[in-house]
């Protein structure tokens, strides 16, 4: 059982890294970012390149989120920024189109074969926990998820910048009147969200390799997490990640064929009866 718990936490950690950004972008920009999964994939591939160039894993954890975040910010300021005033369908579809471009771009750069990374030597192998052998790298992912969750939460709750961001989320017009640079906030938040997704990709790559289509694979999971937790809430993303991670882990063990169906049913139920999720706020 301890093994299953750790499996669930590992999965939750990865899911949190991907879905936190998605949730933030929705909460603050009111945009459903369909390209979010592609930034995750980009992170994995860039991680592969960084490891190949530098010979070590740690540079990837630092450099890749910065690169992916910058790319995200650039994209936001050159495309999304111009269509915020339009009905939401346009932003949604814009991100859909961006996803197509980015996915194909990755394919051109890297080709169709999956790229594997090995965890760094001190994270290889397994740790003895009683009678259980558990991979060290997975424990690292759990730790990473917790650290990032704490960092994001502290940033939003305890720093001035976080205050400004939350103000823009609540009422962007008012925040604008009070002197906040709303456009800049949006760009930064979008960039940060992409950076988190990129970090998720780097963290996932040693476990799943970097492969085309990993973005599409993860985006639906991320939507489920964000819906359950509440669009726009970091605490919600944490809770949602834990719930979905646990459901997928134990679901795969006991009911692998119906686990997905149950997930969709839960998602549907929440959207019908409590659309703002467990931790979100009704609009």
């Amino acid at each position: 059982m301890v093994e299953q718990l750790l499996n669930a936490l590992t999965l939750a950690g990865l899911l949190f890294l991907v879905s936190a950004g998605l949730s933030l972008v929705f909460g603050i920009l009111r945009v459903v970012n369909f390209a979010h999964g592609v930034f995750y994939m980009l992170g994995a591939y860039l991680g592969f390149t960084t490891v190949a160039l530098s010979g070590a894993f740690w540079p990837a954890l630092v450099a890749v989120p910065l690169v992916v975040g910058t790319l995200g910010a650039l994209i936001e300021s050159s495309t999304l920024r111009f269509i915020y005033r339009r009905p939401p369908i346009y932003q949604l579809l814009l991100t859909f189109g961006l996803a197509l471009i980015l996915e194909e771009g990755v394919r051109i750069l890297y080709g169709p074969t999956a790229k594997g990374i090995d965890p760094p030597a001190y994270l290889e192998g397994a740790v003895r926990l009683g009678s259980l052998q558990y991979p060290r790298y997975r424990l690292f992912v759990v730790a990473l998820g917790l650290v990032v969750a704490a960092a994001v939460w502290l940033f939003l709750r305890r720093t001035r910048a976080g205050l400004v961001i939350r103000a823009v989320a609540q009422n962007s017009e008012m925040a604008d009147c009070l002197g906040a640079d709303v456009a800049r906030v949006r760009t930064l938040v979008f960039g940060a969200a992409c950076a988190l997704a990129g970090l998720g990709g780097v963290a996932a790559a040693p476990m799943t390799t970097a492969y085309l289509g990993m973005g599409i694979g993860v985006i639906v999971d991320a939507f489920v997490v964000v819906v359950i937790g509440g669009l726009g809430s970091i605490g919600g993303s944490m809770a949602g990640s834990l719930i979905v991670g646990a459901a997928q882990t134990w679901g795969a063990f006991y009911l692998p064929e119906t686990a997905m169906v149950i997930m969709y049913a839960v998602m549907g139920a929440i959207l019908i009866f409590r659309p703002w999720g467990l931790f979100g706020e009704p609009e």
């Binding site: 369908i89 197509l100 019908i272």
Partner: protein, 310 residues
């Protein structure tokens, strides 16, 4: 005759003459484009006129395709029977799904339609005995127009069936949106809160249009199955719904005829580009992104705006 009427007449004439003017491949491509056009048209009803963005519309296309395939293979009925089966199944499933989904609005509605559609996709994928599972159902025949009637196997004949269905559907949709019911839909799209404050409940309207849209999507799917000869889960996948949304935007949201054109343009771009390069997805994505930013009215919307200015 006003320019719009002249254009419509010319288009109808072109459609009628196509089998004699177009080469064999061009005719089958046109048939294909019309089927996708019908799918996009059905999406415009809920998206353009009622303001409901559905990410699950492909599910109804798929349901229509599967119903049609099963009727044609197992019961060897004339094609119109299969079309009816497809449209009815799509509508029947849309009723409960729509009832639940219309309780939500905006992005929540979109997510809900996505969840339901993925549920249906999973069922189609796994219920191998009925749907053939991931392999789908192949070998769907084109049967006859009516019992003992002429066969629809020839490309000419089937083309006319598809063209007739699309033209009739377009006509029906125009009647719907110009009726008082249609006006109510537009009022809901413009400002749902005000609609409610006037003492009217938007939900029945949304549900009815949701089901109607599903019926037309089911019809498109029911035409797809005998035309392509198969039905498979891919036509129910949410990515196809997303492509439908792209077709509507490209053609012109809320114009009915625009989405039909949008579907054609969308597929044609892919067809032409993919023959030249493996990386056609980048160009398609780029074209789409540019259109979203600079031409939000789509082809028809922009054309109308330019004409109004001239």
């Amino acid at each position: 005759m006003s320019p719009a009427r002249a254009l419509a007449a010319a288009a109808l004439a072109a459609l009628a003459l196509a089998p004699w003017v177009a080469a064999r491949y061009q005719l089958s491509l046109l048939t294909d484009l019309l089927i996708y056009g019908l799918f996009a048209l059905s999406l415009d009803l809920i998206m353009g006129y009622t303001g409901m963005v559905s990410f699950g519309h492909a599910a109804y296309f798929g349901l229509g395709a599967y119903a049609s395939a099963l009727v044609l293979i197992h019961f060897a009925q004339p094609v119109p029977v299969a079309l009816l089966a497809g449209a009815l199944l799509a509508g029947a499933v849309a009723l409960p799904i729509g009832w639940f989904s219309t309780r939500a609005t905006g992005i929540y509605f979109a997510m809900l339609t996505l969840a339901f559609a993925q549920l249906l996709y999973t069922v189609a994928y796994k219920w191998r005995d009925l749907t053939g599972g991931s392999d789908g159902i192949a070998g769907v025949p084109k049967t006859e127009l009516y019992w003992g009637g002429p066969s629809l196997a020839s490309p000419h004949a089937f083309y006319f069936l598809v063209a007739a269905c699309v033209v009739l559907s377009l006509g029906l949709c125009r009647v719907i949106v110009r009726s008082p019911f249609g006006r109510a839909l537009e009022a809901i799209r413009e400002n749902e809160r005000r609609f409610t404050s006037l003492g009217r409940d938007p939900r029945p309207f949304k549900l009815v249009v949701f089901v109607i849209a599903a019926v037309f999507a089911g019809l498109a799917g029911a035409l797809f199955a005998p035309f392509r000869g198969f039905a498979s889960p891919e036509v129910m996948f949410w990515v196809f719904s997303g492509q439908g949304l792209m077709m509507v935007i490209m053609g012109g949201i809320g114009t009915l005829v625009g989405p039909i054109l949008g579907a054609m343009v969308f597929i044609l771009i892919q067809e032409v580009l993919s023959s030249y390069t493996e990386h056609w997805m980048i160009f398609t994505g780029a074209v789409f992104v540019l259109m979203v930013i600079f031409l939000p009215g789509g082809l028809v919307g922009t054309a109308r705006r330019l004409r109004a200015r001239a």
